[in-house]
Symmetry: C2
Subunit: 368 residues, 2 copies
Amino acid sequence: MPVPYAKIVSGVPAMTPFVGPETIERRLGATFRLRLGANESSFGISPKAKAVLAAELDRVSWYCDPEHVDLRARLAADLGVGIDNLVVGEGIDGLLGLIVRAFTDPGEAIVTSAGAYPTFNYHVLGYGGRLEFVPYTQDCRNDLEALVEATRRSAAKLLYLANPDNPSGTFLGRAEVEAALDRLPEDCLFVLDEAYAEFAPPEELPPIDAADTRLIRLRTFSKAHGMAGLRLGYAIAAEDVIATFQKIRLHFGVGRLSQVAALASLDDPDFAANVVRQVAEGRADYEALARDHDLAFIPSLTNFVAIDLESAENSLRMVELLEERGVFVRRPGVAPLDRFVRVSVGTPEERAGFAEAFSDALGALRDG
Amino acid sequence: MPVPYAKIVSGVPAMTPFVGPETIERRLGATFRLRLGANESSFGISPKAKAVLAAELDRVSWYCDPEHVDLRARLAADLGVGIDNLVVGEGIDGLLGLIVRAFTDPGEAIVTSAGAYPTFNYHVLGYGGRLEFVPYTQDCRNDLEALVEATRRSAAKLLYLANPDNPSGTFLGRAEVEAALDRLPEDCLFVLDEAYAEFAPPEELPPIDAADTRLIRLRTFSKAHGMAGLRLGYAIAAEDVIATFQKIRLHFGVGRLSQVAALASLDDPDFAANVVRQVAEGRADYEALARDHDLAFIPSLTNFVAIDLESAENSLRMVELLEERGVFVRRPGVAPLDRFVRVSVGTPEERAGFAEAFSDALGALRDG
């Protein structure tokens, strides 16, 4: 007797949205000495957050507040929205699953850039949606005009855009994003993944209008706040949309430590601001490294830089050569981004180590 | 233009599976001095786990291993199953959502006891399933014969049973559970929630046969291991079932700290064993307290005891009287369990405080 899976789930292909560095380490039988492939922060967490976390270990036998009221109230005050415009989830990954579930009927179209965030695609397939892909432009930007056109052509329910973008690092300014929102079909929601928002110019982020039912914005504590391992993100949306998420979300998905750490990090704004400054310095180092080797790179407003290896074959080989040197980076899988390697901004020491390994690997690559 | 929600989600009623103690505290405008309503452990976490957690705070900027290989390998060795028989999730709550999603097509029946775990029901409604309820027996046991009969009558895809049971505390022995499994229709899966397994006699838990495609067993680190705030549970099932969960689960839902803490707690088996002993002593204290007041109670194999207040009106009033005295307990919502209050086993000091508050409240109740 076959196991009686749900129809949608039976049709989902086996896929892994991200192969973690731990998986690669198990394959290699070695630990990376430079972990620069997952856009984790090399600058740790706020010392205030660390102190709060250490104290909260004494209360970790208690469940968390499933309504996340303290954190949502604080975010609401900071963002100038109501507490009912906010939902907290297990990182943006968890929230993307919630969004796809809330809006997608089986077979419906969802639009995204080809080669954009694979976990979004994973959720779309997992809930039986149909992905409509739009290529990046040749200068590695999300093609907003073509994305909007694709939502019309396919009668899509959702348009996904990461801005600043991962894996390219490119950024579309406020005017472009607002124009796209205005041209979106009425019954299509704009899912704006702003995981890297802190690294962009604040005045170029569209102002938050939480009453706008066309838009869901996503933020995270994984990047500038350095809390990737704590799994906490939030969505800003209209009250009706948030109320719908409340009907179906996992109420006890985000742990107790994550909530107190996020609150403490918000109480230490200088910490994240300093991370943003250090990351900008780090991007400049990587840009200089690329120039030194006569390689192009994509100007980035994130915590990583994509360096142009000039062909997909070269970039694939570069990942292997760096692995052999104990360095973890990623290579985007889809053209035109597949000729790049994407390296996260490390500490000055990590950047120096990367520069040495990269130069050495590039020598090996060019020697054939 | 109305927001274009998915059809299933549009039909989901607004519901909150659990009102957390924090929500009650906000309503009361006061903090509970005795938090004994959520079956959290009063005995903390293993000191070894605490030390590992404190050290891991330095790596919390890193994502976790999304495959949880170290933890699954350790659990596999301990349980005598393969690593591919295990999936890790955000507590049993998260895994129940995964299970319902994997097996339920809209409108299909799912069988559970009336008044059993509300979060399971929440997920069933959230994925468009139809709940078929079977009353508890008059002695507050899950009525396995009637539950199996209900799966046949309703052509159910899943049968949910918590054993030891929450909120009653009752336990069905190995022979009864195995007989029910054998009588289940071929295309119905048995979801056996063993959150409180550590508190039951080991020889009365059915041996684990991970090749059995009819059964999914759920365990947690929230109870005996004291890690409710870290949100980590696991499911044991046949490889094909686990492979299906892998296709749709949230890969980065369980945080880095949770994984290292769980591993460390498994390395300290004396800790959990000692918790189980202390909890047994605590249950005996609550039983003595009930007897002192000529009240019945349900013999329990969990970390809580349900005390019989003799009517639903009395138990409701008792919850209020205890709230007024700064004590958080719960009252099950469905007959025959609604005449009980359920109190979690605290430390000896907490039990003494509860005995005093309960006796005082009972005096007020009996005085009318």
